[in-house]
Subunit: 228 residues, 2 copies
């Protein structure tokens, strides 16, 4: 996290910008599919749902890929962002925990089309090892090390119950995985140098509930209501 390879540019892009680059990438893909060859920062910002000033500042961190007075070449900028993120080639990914959510993730087509390839599905439960999900065999969790070594996996997804998550994370780290996407509602502790991103469905709903509670006791405005 501290030192980078000094040969490359090594300009450090702000974390907030990194989080938005994938959004711009998708907006550009959408524009390209609609046949748009060029777009202004205003158009792209609107498609991505952000402020145009913010968009320009974000893009300025990667370089000067626009043309003043004209705008951005959609295909060119799309490639530059994809390259910066690192999704010009596919990343191999393993998914551990093939419950309801694991199934959904394995079948999610967006992974394939956005730079990721699910190379293995793992589960500790032997009764699942007969299954095949999305054309990929479910294999025993003990195969993790072999699979990681074989495919050069660097990213792991955890969709197990909470109580198993830390063990899975430990195993992932010991095989060399350095990036983990965690869907289990648990706090993972990992060594330095390993990134963990957490997606927690309950937390998102609870945040919504907080704001909802503050908006008002019931639907006051924007809806005609008949008194009960």
């Amino acid at each position: 996290m501290t030192e980078r390879t000094p040969t490359e540019a090594a300009r450090d892009i702000p974390e907030a910008t990194v989080a938005r680059l994938p959004v711009y990438l998708r907006a550009l893909t959408s524009l390209a599919e609609a046949g748009t060859a060029t777009c202004s920062s205003e158009e792209l910002a609107s498609a991505a749902g952000v402020n145009s000033a913010k968009l320009r500042k974000d893009l300025s961190h990667l370089g000067s890929y626009g043309t003043r007075g004209v705008g951005y070449d959609v295909e060119y900028l799309r490639y530059q962002i994809a390259r910066e993120i690192g999704v010009t080639q596919d990343w191999p990914v393993v998914i551990v925990g093939i419950g309801n959510l694991g199934h959904a993730l394995a079948n999610f087509s967006g992974f394939r089309s956005r730079g990721f390839r699910v190379v293995a599905l793992l589960d500790a439960d032997p009764s699942r090892h007969a299954e095949q999900v999305a054309g990929v065999d479910v294999r025993p969790f003990s195969d993790l090390a072999a699979i990681v070594a074989e495919h050069g996996v660097a990213i792991g997804v955890i969709s197990t119950p909470a109580h198993a998550a830390q063990d899975v994370a430990d195993a992932m780290v010991s095989t060399g995985i350095r990036s983990i996407l965690n869907f289990a509602p648990a706090v993972l502790s990992v060594p330095d140098g390993v990134d963990v991103r957490k997606v927690d469905l309950s937390i998102e709903l609870q945040i919504l509930a907080y704001h909802e509670q503050r908006k008002g006791p019931a639907g006051l405005e924007g809806r005609l209501e008949a008194p009960a």
Copy 2:
């Protein structure tokens, strides 16, 4: 978003703090289940995966619920946070789009145990209306307004394909739903007063990929590697 009911406290809690309250809530529940009656800010912070100073400042926004020299009463603090978030009673929720992800969400037990109750599953595809998922019938999307009115639904979840998301959001807003959790990879535009939170699996992976790319070309440290 601007004015609150002047009768209540109306202290505004910073957004960053709101996002962490559910994490504290879960950590406290976990401590309570382990039989812990009292905990210090250091312990709770460690269980929640944050800095203890940050935890104390966060909690200070809700009031003074701790005792200096002693710490926090686990059960008492747990209730106070649950009350602040608004999950002391269950929130009715509708899920629209019963594909792979919709199935997983409907079956997710964490909703029920954390203050939410799925009252309806909706899908536009008539061939799905025969199904029953997690004990709840799948009903036609056109029933949305009736269901929302019947149960007083304020929170909607969108797990449709991207191209349908905006239409679903519009319909939700028109029925009075003011909080939306969106899993579709699309930018939703909604009127003021409606909150949208977005969960995007591809984006999370792409952020990981960016950092992974910067860590180094291959597994250099922490893993013994045999030259291919």
